[in-house]
């Protein structure tokens, strides 16, 4: 059963040098409270797996939005993402040799994480064929199946995942609002410890079983501070 904690308590679970999946797309759907607490703690040496590097200047008035806080604080040793172009600090840190960045096509990254959580050894995709992606470490090989070529992409897992729901019920079931869903449901399956931040905690049954997106059995901790964004 999911344990209810504060965002600060949740952030303290994440260990130095850990691999960490964070849901969200340019910060939309990111667990901002837990990430802000993690930035405050300064836990370093992280391998961050997130669709993107977010951006400076968030709609919440922050100087660095979501995971951009961790990058700004130099807490991220390695970043695995599909796009980093809207956060200029990433290029700057790459030039300094202060961060290692692996870029993966967005659809491949989503499927690699899905495979990691689904007990699959990898994914066959035509995406990236004939490009420099073929030579990346996350690609096992080029495989031919029934006359068509594919990249065999390795599966991807992490020590921790921070996901973010709009409603989480007392059994840990998660419902996402709008476009916040993105990578959150697959990441909830692909990490050893799953922290689900939420904007609202609701009674069991308030999310109808048909509308549960991430099942409570996947969630180890629910991070809630009592307030909506």
């Amino acid at each position: 059963m999911a344990e209810f904690v504060t965002p600060a308590e949740a952030a303290r679970l994440i260990t130095e040098g850990a691999s960490l999946m964070v849901g969200g797309f340019m910060g939309c759907g990111t667990g901002h409270r837990v990430i802000a607490e993690l930035a405050r703690l300064g836990t370093g040496g992280l391998t961050l797996i997130c669709n993107d590097a977010s951006k400076p200047g968030g709609p919440d008035g922050s100087d660095f939005y979501g995971v951009a806080k961790l990058i700004h604080n130099r807490q991220v040793k390695k970043l695995i993402a599909s796009h980093v172009g809207l956060n200029p600090e990433v290029a700057q840190l790459m030039n300094e040799g202060a961060i290692e960045v692996t870029l993966i096509p967005q659809g491949s990254m989503a499927e690699m994480i899905r495979a990691g959580g689904a007990g699959l050894g990898g994914v066959l995709t035509p995406t990236g064929l004939g490009t420099i992606v073929e030579d990346a470490a996350h690609v096992h090989s080029v495989v031919e199946v029934d006359g068509r070529k594919y990249l065999l992409e390795r599966s991807l897992r992490a020590d921790f995942a921070v996901i973010c729901g709009y409603y989480v019920d007392k059994a840990g079931n998660v419902w996402y609002k709008g476009t916040t869903r993105n990578f959150n449901p697959v990441m909830a399956m692909a990490a050893d410890v799953v922290i689900a931040e939420t904007e609202h905690v609701v009674e069991i049954g308030a999310i109808e079983p048909e509308n549960v997106v991430t099942q409570g059995i996947l969630v180890n901790y629910v991070a809630f501070d009592g307030g909506a964004l």
Binding site: F25, M26, G27, C28, N51, D52, S54, K55, P59, D60, A81, S82, H83, V84, G85, L86, A91, M94, V101, L103, P105, Q106, G107, S108, A110, E111, R114, T125, P126, T127, G128, L129, G130, T131, I132, V133, Y166, Y176, K177, G178, T179, T180, R181, N182, F183, N184, P185, V186, V213, L229
Partner: protein, 218 residues
């Protein structure tokens, strides 16, 4: 000529059919919906998790924490639309369920190769969803200005790292409409504000004159 970007967007809009599901890249492609012909309604798919993306919201109705586009900016969804997760979004994209993707290019060549995600040593933004989109969409339209301040972008062979091999179907610029077909790049339409000589000089790839070559009409 009016603004080149709007001119390109207008001509691209004429390629779309009523009911098409379309994914738009950043820049010129985002101007396309404003120029859809009467009677043509398309479904916009946004790779961050929307089928049926709507127009930009007014500031007072924006939901910047909950409904955004692929650039992270506030967005809306149309009635009948759906919010989806990233694996579903890219299943739609990779699985051939998107009729058309429209995107910009740094370089494109006569074999339909596309480069639009990295300039090694200079700019490394990442491919985002572009590699999946151009591999999976039924039709790939490159919408861009013909040259980069005079330097050709339509090359014999791309020099930058590729986004995908042989993926481009149509290139639409302020000068011309070109189709990638077996044998090379076919000039289908030209903007009469330019001479054929000027268009050839601005294009490194060899242009094959289409037998039904005509003026661009927007």
């Amino acid at each position: 000529m009016e603004n080149a970007k709007d001119f390109i967007a207008k001509r691209v809009a004429a390629e779309l059919k009523d009911g098409d599901t379309v994914n738009l890249g950043i820049g010129i492609p985002t101007l396309v919906p404003a120029y859809l012909p009467d009677g043509v309604t398309v479904v916009l798919q946004s790779e961050n998790g929307m089928v049926g993306a709507g127009p930009k919201p007014a500031a007072e109705t924006a939901q910047p924490f909950h409904v955004t586009d692929a650039g992270g900016q506030p967005a809306t969804i149309v009635p009948g639309g759906a919010f989806i997760d990233s694996t579903t979004s890219f299943s739609l994209i990779r699985g051939g369920h998107i009729d058309c993707t429209i995107l910009g290019a740094l370089e494109v060549d006569g074999e339909g190769n596309l480069a639009n995600w990295i300039i090694p040593g200079k700019r490394v933004p990442g491919m985002g969803g572009a590699m999946d989109l151009v591999v999976g969409a039924k039709k790939v339209i490159v919408a861009m200005e013909h040259t980069a301040k005079g330097a050709p972008k339509i090359l014999k062979k791309c020099r930058l790292p590729l986004t995908a091999v042989g993926c481009v179907n149509l290139i639409i610029t302020e000068m011309a409409v070109m189709e990638v077909k077996p044998g090379g790049l076919w000039l289908k339409e030209y903007n009469p504000l330019f001479t054929l000589e000027e268009i050839k000089n601005a294009t490194e790839a060899e242009l094959i004159m289409s037998p039904d070559l005509r003026k661009m009409v927007v």
